[in-house]
């Protein structure tokens, strides 16, 4: 009895129908929080006396960085669930999470680079965090490339799930190694301290943005997984009926 929800969750159709109710809530909430946090961070939060206004990039850089790492775990764990319990829905979540994670990692990389220009006077610094982020980005790209390389969907899922799991085991090691490498080569002049000196009035909008990004991540994952469900179940009657009934609406 207790396992029934688990098996039902494994049914893509059940999930598709159930989840349509969540989308409006998630969409409204995450977009509203994103806008609120952005306006707060851009216009109302106090200017940092050391970095000036460029620090306002933190409000997107840090949440994006959080989610790119958390997203990797979402991807790897759902991949593992798909491998172990052969749950189709988990495979679809994994495939969706790979793309979303890669996009968010890219965002945090680019915002980090742009932030570097006014702060350090250069677009790219081999800072520990940015370097780890770059490696993380490569890991995502590897999973996506492997996923795309296989014609057969089932093999693609399993292979990329294994790669994601191997990556998950490696991520802490990679992060620690890069940290260690950075302390070895760290030039004394560059010191990245904005977070240790951050003032509470600067922190609240960051908190809002972090929550907003998490909600947005859930929304994006949901939308992407749902479209993946439709694609993979396109030969079934319920999807075809949905197509007939849906016409153009959302």
């Amino acid at each position: 009895m207790g396992w029934q929800w688990f098996h039902r969750l494994g049914s893509p159709r059940w999930f598709y129908e159930k989840s349509s109710a969540w989308i409006p809530w998630l969409a409204v909430l995450s977009i509203a929080l994103l806008l609120w946090g952005s306006v707060w961070g851009l216009a109302f939060a106090p200017t940092d006396f050391k970095q000036g206004n460029s620090y306002r990039i933190i409000y997107i850089h840090v949440p994006a960085a959080f989610l790119s790492l958390a997203g990797y775990y979402v991807m790897a764990i759902s991949g593992a669930i798909g491998l172990i319990w052969k749950m189709k829905l988990a495979d679809m979540v994994m495939k969706s999470a790979a793309v979303i994670g890669a996009v968010l990692t890219f965002v945090s990389l680019v915002t980090g680079a742009v932030w570097g220009k006014p702060t350090w006077g250069t677009w790219w610094v081999w800072d520990a965090r940015i370097t780890s982020m770059l490696v993380l980005f490569f890991l995502y790209l590897g999973v996506i490339a492997l996923q795309e390389a296989y014609q057969q969907q089932d093999t693609a899922n399993k292979a990329s799930a294994i790669l994601a799991l191997v990556g998950m085991v490696n991520i802490p090691i990679i992060y620690k190694s890069v940290d260690w490498w950075y302390t070895l080569h760290q030039p004394a002049t560059i010191k990245f301290t904005s977070e240790s000196t951050i003032h509470p009035s600067m922190l609240y909008p960051l908190l809002v943005m972090v929550i907003a990004f998490y909600l947005f991540y859930a929304l994006a994952l949901l939308l992407r997984t749902r479209s993946e469900i439709l694609y993979r179940e396109r030969k079934t009657r319920w999807v075809q009926e949905l197509a007939e009934a849906g016409k153009g609406s959302h």
Partner: protein, 212 residues
Amino acid sequence: MANPLIQLEALSCERDERVLFSGLDLSVFAGDVIQIEGPNGSGKTTLLRVLTTTSADFSGEIRWLGQPLSKARLDYLNNLLYIGHLPGIKKGLTPGENLRWFCGLNQGHQRMSMEEALAAVGLAGYEDVPCYQLSAGQNRRVALARLYLTPARVWILDEPFTAIDKQGVANLEKLMAEHAAGGGCVLLTTHQELDLAGVRKVNLLGYRQVRS
């Protein structure tokens, strides 16, 4: 009635989101020679691959000596010999070296010497010739020499007669009959008509799912 060696219960195979066959129940007894039939694409090779455990695209249960395969896997594999489309022969090695590797994996359980086995498939004197110098048919026969060596009870053969001459076919049929009579079983696919008494035929077309 003796207990079956292999039991398939409600076996269904799905590949590329297409159901190849479903609801296949089959009991394989000692002494059986079973020919799997069906047109191309009906899942013959897939069924054989499922039976060798290299394919997991199935639902249903496979039992070995009454136990689910997941529990009796090692014992089953220890009793299995599979020759597939690809002969599984290293071109860079000699027939003797190839067979030595196979025997090494099942160490110490061979029924005759490698020379005898090669002689039985008509390759006497070829022990030390690299396989890339042999013809496709001869390579095929190197793979078939494993049948003489193995103590395995279950033989799964995918098109074993490909590139084999008439005499070779007759020898192979005789070998299969002996194997079955000795308490083994053979599952095979072939386009040829087998000259063997008591061959059971299973046509996969009969298990094709009808879409409602």
